[in-house]
């Protein structure tokens, strides 16, 4: 098989994209399009649902069905699309502010419901589009435009949150590892139930420069140094305090998804069981 380019899933006349030089969004978009191609998905069967933020603009470049929604609510819209037509392949593209901060409630409930959707959260540790304010994933003590004296809040671990809430598949990679990211997205698209891929990504205009990573390459080097596979991460003492994070597949289980459970309930009702 020829190397997948993903081009047929991209709206080529909309390129080049709007994202900053060094931003990881392009890498994630490329990984997503290649994953679609390697799975040979029909563009008309895909619905990309986006929220608001830099990564929320991804639908502008996708030649699949798309629904660009409000800040934080992409998963709610995606839930309706999926239940209305379960044959559709639904992906929700959200940033950390969108997907884990203002939209945190929908994230945990989508995972709890085990809604058969794929959430791809690009975590760049801040609100890039509005000028680099801190989000729920900004590390403690980090500097942002609304934490100029360092962030007094603690960060969410998105993957841990999704795992605890019941997601079937959870994985994390960085945008410094495009191939791995593509493979995780492929696995997520094939996983039953709710799947989530967190892509840690550099914000080279806002977060990086405010935190001693002036050049994009500094941020990529930082991602490569801090993202560790389980084999290394699990051997460390207090890795989180050192700013390390685990990459790879973190959760992989096959609990029945919402649609399956709903159909089972429907059959019970039609068989005259307890209503």
């Amino acid at each position: 098989m020829a190397h997948a380019t993903g081009m047929k899933y991209l709206k080529q006349d909309a390129l080049p994209h709007m994202w900053c030089a060094g931003c990881g969004n392009g890498v994630v978009l490329g990984a997503l399009a290649r994953a679609f191609e390697e799975l040979d998905l029909a563009p008309e069967d895909i619905v990309a649902v986006t929220g608001i933020g830099c990564w929320g603009k991804a639908d502008d470049y996708l030649a699949v069905n798309a629904l660009h929604t409000t800040h934080g609510r992409a998963l709610a819209y995606a839930t309706g699309v999926k239940a209305s037509n379960p044959k559709l392949r639904v992906v929700a593209l959200m940033g950390d502010g969108d997907g884990a901060t203002i939209g945190g409630n929908h994230l945990i409930h989508s995972a709890r419901r085990n809604m058969p959707l794929t959430a791809i959260i690009v975590n760049n540790y801040n609100y890039g589009m509005t000028g680099g304010q801190f989000s729920a994933t900004t590390p403690a003590n980090a500097f942002t435009s609304t934490s100029v004296g360092s962030n007094p809040e603690r960060a969410f671990d998105i993957c841990e949150l999704a795992r605890a809430a019941g997601a079937n598949y959870v994985a994390r990679e960085t945008s410094a590892a495009g191939m791995k990211l593509k493979n995780r997205i492929k696995e997520a698209l094939e996983a039953p139930g709710f799947s989530l891929v967190e892509a840690i990504s550099p914000c080279t205009t806002q977060f990086g420069p405010k935190n001693n990573m002036r050049r994009p390459v500094d941020m990529f080097e930082w991602l490569k140094a801090k993202g560790l596979p389980a084999s290394k991460y699990d051997k460390m003492v207090h890795p989180e305090q050192e700013g390390f994070f685990k990459t790879g597949v973190l959760v992989n289980r096959d609990a029945p998804d919402f649609i399956t459970r709903y159909e089972a309930m429907r059959s019970r009702m039609q068989a005259g069981g307890r209503e």
């Binding site: 603009k57 069905n65 798309a66 819209y77 699309v81 409930h109």
Partner: protein, 375 residues
């Protein structure tokens, strides 16, 4: 006994009306006094091949029904004032995305949590102006249980026909009261289905910004791939920042409802011919108004009632025509500020001829209160 007459609650009639119209997707969050609708949907939709989804909040409920509608299901939610407030931002997506959905707002007394089980009509302005950005919407208000059923069917029809959200706004009285009614047989009431777009799938554009235009909507999963966005967009559904495009886009959202005005705006007249006192009412107060008007006519007074079945777009022409010979217009409504009265006042030169009868303590308006205003 008349055939098939049944005792039915307003909220029940709304749910049955929705199923009659072909609604097969409900997403909502329980709230008094609308919860019966959710309960009936959870019981009936599985058997109808549909989905009942209880979402984590009203923001999610609104998002889910918009997504479901685009994927091809006639979709709706039911709520009350506090929940409707939470739906507003996402309701704006349905407006700019021209997504057919129906929202039931069983109005209860506020402000805020207010009197949760008591009736009000204080959401009319929230329905019309509750969202940021300039846009138009359709709202209907039933006054009987039968109308709960019929208006719900109409709401779905208008939503599909004009690609727009439609709000059905009964007050708590109408939502919770029970009356005898006959459930219409299939085929008895018209049901509007989504029209399949024509032409080459590759050429499909989800929007048309010609004045008054309502463009056919494809479903996600059909051969027509398309984008819907909450951002200012072109006819192709992609972001578009040009001022010329924005002007056409915003205007068309208004003109499509202007063009359908005769179809959308519904009123009913009761003895308005030559009336000197006109009572303009919507929802439960229509009943008190008709009762008061009947007593007044028995005393020889020329009193007519104009029922606003459609609240938005506001029936300006119909009110003006009914008030032609009127020396006084009485507007009874369950709110303090006179949300409907204010609109009526805009239509007349002599502002003093509009007399308000307001109830804002969670209690209904009685005919005697209207009778007093007639005197």
């Amino acid at each position: 006994m008349k055939k098939n007459q049944r005792l039915i609650q307003g909220n029940e009639a709304i749910a049955f009306g929705a199923f009659y119209a072909g609604a097969r997707f409900y997403a909502g969050y329980p709230i008094t006094p609308s919860s019966e609708i959710a309960e009936i949907c959870s019981r009936e939709l599985p058997g109808l091949g549909g989905f009942y989804m209880q979402m984590e909040d009203e923001l999610a409920s609104m998002g889910a029904i918009i997504g479901a509608s685009l994927a091809g299901s006639k979709s709706f939610t039911a709520t009350s004032g506090p929940g409707f407030s939470l739906m507003q931002e996402n309701l704006g997506v349905a407006i700019i995305g021209e997504v057919p959905i129906v929202v039931i707002d069983v109005q209860r007394s506020g402000p805020s949590t207010g009197l949760a089980t008591k009736p009000a009509q204080s959401d009319f302005m929230q329905i019309r102006w509750g969202r940021h950005g300039d846009q138009a919407i359709i709202a209907l208000a039933p006054a009987t249980v039968r109308e709960c059923f019929e208006f719900t069917v109409l709401a779905f029809n208008l939503a599909e026909k004009y690609r727009t959200p439609v709000v059905l706004a009964p007050d708590e009285i109408i939502g919770h009261m029970r009356e005898n009614m006959e459930i219409p047989e299939p085929g008895e009431l018209p049901v509007v289905e989504r029209t399949e777009p024509q032409g080459e799938p590759a050429d499909y554009r989800p929007f048309c910004f010609k004045e008054g235009c309502v463009h056919p909507l494809a479903n996600y999963g059909s051969e027509r791939i398309y984008h819907v966005t909450s951002s200012m967009n072109g006819e192709d559904g992609f972001s578009n920042n040009s001022p010329e495009n924005a002007a056409r886009r915003v205007a068309q959202l208004h003109t499509k409802l202007d063009a359908g005005r005769e179809d959308i705006v519904m009123t009913e007249s009761f003895d308005v011919e030559g009336c000197e006192t006109l009572i303009v009412a919507s929802g439960a107060p229509v009943r008190a108004a008709r009762s008061a008007a009947k007593d007044a006519r028995a005393k020889g007074l020329k009193v007519g009632v104009l029922q606003l079945k459609t609240v938005w777009p506001f029936p300006e022409l119909e009110i003006a025509a009914a008030a032609k010979n009127a020396r006084r217009i009485i507007v009874p409504e369950m709110n303090y500020s006179g949300q409907l009265a204010g609109e009526v006042r805009k239509l007349v030169n002599d502002k003093n001829m509009v007399r308000q009868v307001n109830s804002y303590n969670g209690q209904i308006i009685f005919p005697a209160q209207i009778a007093q205003a007639i005197q």
